[in-house]
């Protein structure tokens, strides 16, 4: 029975939209404190070298320079998001391992003075041979990047079913190699923080982090300061997309500079540093082989992936694992083998980036599937429907799929795009050809369980009902601009039976909010949402008990609607939530405070040996279709229309969900497909600005029609699942498949530039 909801399901403008639009919201670089210093980091110009000596004396002599630090000024502890893999340091002490690596830092009265100080720090390097291609780095005689270790940071294989037998029995086998390049997040706000270590020994950090509570833990560990002496405030963030997951060296270095000076230090990347030295999307070379029966049923799929880890560990192990896991999740394939190599190189290292390995693998899987469809003369949408996972099923790797709207997603885009007509007609005009393509995806809709070296994916919240009926929700979650706070406020209002305007969200402040894993894995709607719902429910119970006493009616007979509590059927005799809260506090001495803890209900840590297990409590699905026009004279591709059907469980705020989808497709998916790649030469990024690393502009925007499919998830708050990452995961594959439909060429290496299309067309004599 679908209940009528008072708040959720309505299109609600973001609660912080007008304050952001007024220019009054203070991001990290907008913060000014008395005595504020500017921090700058000295970065290695070499990809691989021993640090023999660092002379800071000349830099120290400049007036206005308040501190110059090297590794010796830090506790020299290695760090990583998962401490078991820690091999990075805030400032390197023996070797630099990539161009951009942190060597020293200064705190000065302004940017110019800081830059002058950097130029006077003298570092004696002993250059070492570098290795930049992961396949070369895997060879036994490659230069070793970390002492006495192979450059293979991780090598793992997972097998489910009988892969070799299945390939023998397959009617059709297809194989191919795909490449996804290094990519920059290009958040409009560069990474940065303000750190202040005051004279009492308290460290306060305002950071662009997406994980405030984990950041506090990491800072405590790497700086050797107790957590109770560290406060992290997540400042409003100008985009994140994974860039701000876990501690960035900037956070720790700014803290050390402040410890040295006892003054607040603001350290913000320049745009050049954002491109040159900041965590990227892990580049992957993916070899994939797929076997199908004569009807197009996928019976076997195997991949070998080589991932460029870069110079240091951060999240490569998880990203590569996540990529491989999609083999067993996207379609109901019974026999899977996945082999992954995560390899150190002297390139800039990777981190979390929207999709977390999934866009890379989905590109390979979805193009390969179209190749199979073509060979077997099956419609690409039909073959996907045929192989789609169904609700309440278990995949070969043990993933328990609860709600699943994939079939509906595919049928919706087929219907809305005019797929059948467009596939049949050859559409050309002069040198231009049109084509339509489809791609699907699956992603965790609730975060996954293999993070931070723990079993736990959890979130907690507190709901306080004030004596005027307004509500404070304290949540450790992070608002990055994805609209999380608005969604949580809607959930709280719905659960409590009060208006949206009554809700005040306090988030990302480690002093006052209970812990949450943070914003990653498209998890916050599900994980923080449920925590907020439970906290609100507990506060509601307390209100109902008070009113039960006041109205002399059993609790089970009471209802809250629009802030009024009354016996069902007798709305004219009521006590307001405000009155009940005031009564509880003033007459009974008990403030109304509810607590909610949401521990990921249905997932497990996968078996360490086999990889078997349900890694997520809910899975999000989507189908996207792209229509393109290819100019056969230039190779230029223009996307002219786009349809997205996303299974979101239940759309808490449809306006927010649509914004995520449209933004994901245009501002990221399109760029991933056609434009973006960091170009590295001997480990140094060459395109360190927006003119040379192109991201989509408004002139590239095309119409994106969105359809929210709502199968209502059993575990999600009011049935909701995540949508943040799914938005852009299949977009590049949909575009690539559309290009093939238009001109008959496959481009396996991203991005699909005009040069590549042109060359492929010439090879086909088109």
């Amino acid at each position: 029975m679908e209940l009528g909801y008072g708040v959720i399901g309505k299109k609600v403008p973001r609660l912080d939209a007008l304050s952001k639009g007024s220019g009054n919201v203070k991001y990290v670089s907008d913060l000014y404190l008395p005595g504020l210093l500017t921090g700058k980091i000295l970065r290695s110009p070499l990809p691989h070298a021993k640090i023999l000596n660092i002379n800071i004396s000349k830099a120290l002599r400049i007036p206005g320079v308040k501190a110059v630090i090297t590794a010796a000024d830090t506790p020299q502890r290695k760090f990583c998001l998962n401490p078991a893999w820690a091999n990075n340091m805030l400032l390197q002490n023996e070797k630099v391992r990539y161009v951009g690596d942190q060597v020293a830092a200064v705190a000065a009265i302004d940017e110019d003075t800081g830059n002058e100080a950097l130029s006077l720090i003298e570092v004696d390097y002993e250059p070492l041979s570098g290795v930049f291609d992961p396949e070369e780095a895997m060879l036994p005689d490659a230069p070793k990047i970390h002492a006495e270790e192979s450059n293979i940071a991780l090598h793992g294989t997972r097998t489910f079913g009988d892969v070799d037998k299945a390939f023998e029995e397959a009617a059709y086998v297809c194989e191919g190699t795909f490449y996804s390049p290094p990519l920059a997040h290009c958040c409009m706000e560069p990474r940065g923080c303000v750190a202040y270590y005051d004279l009492s020994g308290k460290l306060t950090v305002w950071s662009t982090t997406q994980t405030p509570h984990p950041l506090r833990e990491e800072l405590s560990e790497v700086l050797d300061i107790p957590q109770s002496k560290i406060s992290v405030f997540q400042a409003p963030v100008g985009g994140a997309f994974g860039a701000r997951m876990g501690m960035d060296p900037i956070d720790g270095v700014a803290a050390v500079l402040s410890v040295k000076t006892h003054r607040p230090v603001k350290l913000v990347n320049t745009r050049e540093e954002e491109f040159l030295s900041s965590r990227i999307r892990y580049p992957m070379k993916i070899w994939i082989r797929t076997g199908a029966d004569k009807n197009g049923r996928l019976i076997a799929q195997e991949i070998k992936v080589i991932t460029d880890n870069g110079a240091y560990n951060h999240e490569g192990q998880y990203v590569m694992g996540n990529a491989g896991s999609k083999l067993a999740q996207l379609y109901a394939v019974p026999n899977i083998r996945y082999e992954g190599f995560l390899v150190y190189t002297n390139n800039v290292y990777g981190g979390a980036f929207r999709g977390y390995g999934n866009p890379q693998i989905t590109y390979a899987i979805e193009i390969q599937l179209d190749k199979i469809a073509e060979a077997l003369k099956i419609d690409p949408a039909e073959i996907r429907l045929f192989n789609a996972n169904k609700a309440n099923s278990v995949t070969a790797s043990g993933c328990k799929i609860g709600s699943c709207g994939l079939g509906d997603c595919i049928e919706t885009v087929v219907e809305e795009s005019g797929w059948k007509d467009k596939k049949v007609k050859e559409r050309k005009s002069g040198s231009k050809r049109r084509g339509i393509g489809i791609a699907c995806m699956i992603h965790g809709g609730s975060g996954v369980k293999f993070f931070f070296g723990t079993d736990c994916n959890s979130s907690s919240a507190i709901a306080k009902i004030n004596t005027d009926g307004s509500v404070d929700i304290l949540t450790g979650s992070a608002e990055l601009g994805q609209g999380s706070n608005t969604t949580l406020a809607m959930i709280a209002a719905e659960e409590l039976g009060v208006s949206l305007e009554a809700i005040n969200i306090i988030n990302g402040d480690t002093d006052t909010t209970p812990p949450c894993g943070g914003a990653w894995g498209s998890r916050q709607t599900f994980m923080a949402g449920n925590a907020v719902k439970y906290a609100a429910a507990e506060a509601k119970d307390q209100i109902l008990k008070v009113v039960s006493d006041l109205l002399e009616a059993p609790v089970e007979d009471l209802l809250i609607e629009k802030g009024k509590v009354f016996v069902k059927g007798s709305p004219s005799r009521f006590v307001t939530v405000a009155e009940a809260s005031a009564d509880s506090w003033r007459n009974r001495g008990t403030p109304i405070v509810g607590k909610g803890v949401n521990v990921d209900p249905w997932s497990v840590q996968p078996d360490m040996k086999t990889g078997y297990g349900n890694v997520s409590s809910a899975y999000a699905f989507a189908a996207q279709a792209a229509e393109v026009e290819v100019d056969t004279e230039t190779g230029c591709v223009e996307v002219i229309d786009f349809w997205c059907a996303h299974d979101v469980g239940k759309a808490i705020n449809p306006l927010g969900a649509e914004a995520q989808i449209k933004g994901g497709v245009i501002s990221m998916g399109l760029g991933y497909a056609l434009m973006e790649a960091l170009v590295l030469k001997n480990g140094a990024v060459q395109n360190t600005n927006f003119a040379d690393y192109k991201i989509p502009t408004m002139l590239d925007a095309f119409d994106v029609k969105t359809y929210l499919i709502e199968p209502i998830d059993k575990y999600g708050p009011f049935g909701a699942k995540g949508v943040g990452e799914p938005a852009m995961i299949p977009s590049a594959a949909a575009i690539a498949n559309a290009i093939h439909d238009a001109v008959g060429v496959w481009i396996n290496d991203l991005p699909i530039t005009p040069e590549k299309v042109f060359a492929a067309l010439r090879e086909k004599n088109i």
């Binding site: 639009g21 007024s22 985009g239 994140a240 745009r271 933004g663 927006f690 408004m698």
Partner: protein
């Protein structure tokens, strides 16, 4: 480096500020006048986050030297709304879901205002062209186009 005096009117208020020859208009606004609504995204004129209106024209404040704005009239996002109200552009941006992380928003708003100040009836292509120098990584641009069109209609 010696400092020079610059006289500049920002959002209707006159200021006299001491700056270096190398100080940009962006740094004057943010660091000297503490008007941090205008954002620094790249400091090299490629992202548009620092767009302000100078003497009626939309400019990247990071590419204008403060000394070159001497006696100039600048409008920033802080001056868009009135005392107790928001500018219709700001309201429409919020209503249409055109603000996500908000970092590109001040620049988008000022480019939009510059457009509709000179062209009260822009079509889709006019809007896209006027805002083509404002990058956004979150939002996909469609809602911004709709917001500008709604503002013009009203």
């Amino acid at each position: 480096m010696a400092k020079v005096s610059v006289t500049i009117e920002v959002n209707g208020e006159s200021h006299e500020v001491l700056v270096k020859n190398s100080t940009t208009l962006l740094d004057l606004l943010r660091e000297e006048l503490l008007l941090t609504g205008t954002k620094k995204g790249c400091d090299s004129g490629e992202c548009g986050a620092c767009t302000v209106i100078l003497d009626g024209k939309a400019v990247n404040a990071c590419l204008v030297l403060a000394v070159d704005a001497n006696f100039g009239k600048v409008e920033t996002v802080e001056g868009l709304g009135g005392e107790n109200a928001f500018h219709p552009l700001q309201e429409q941006f919020a209503q249409h879901g055109a603000i996500q992380c908000g970092y590109c928003t001040p620049g988008m708003l000022m480019s939009s205002k510059a457009l509709i100040d000179r062209n009260p009836c822009p079509n889709d292509m006019d809007i896209k062209t006027a805002l083509s120098g404002n990058l956004c990584r979150c939002g996909g641009y469609l809602q911004i186009i709709d917001a500008v069109k709604s503002t013009v209609k009203k």
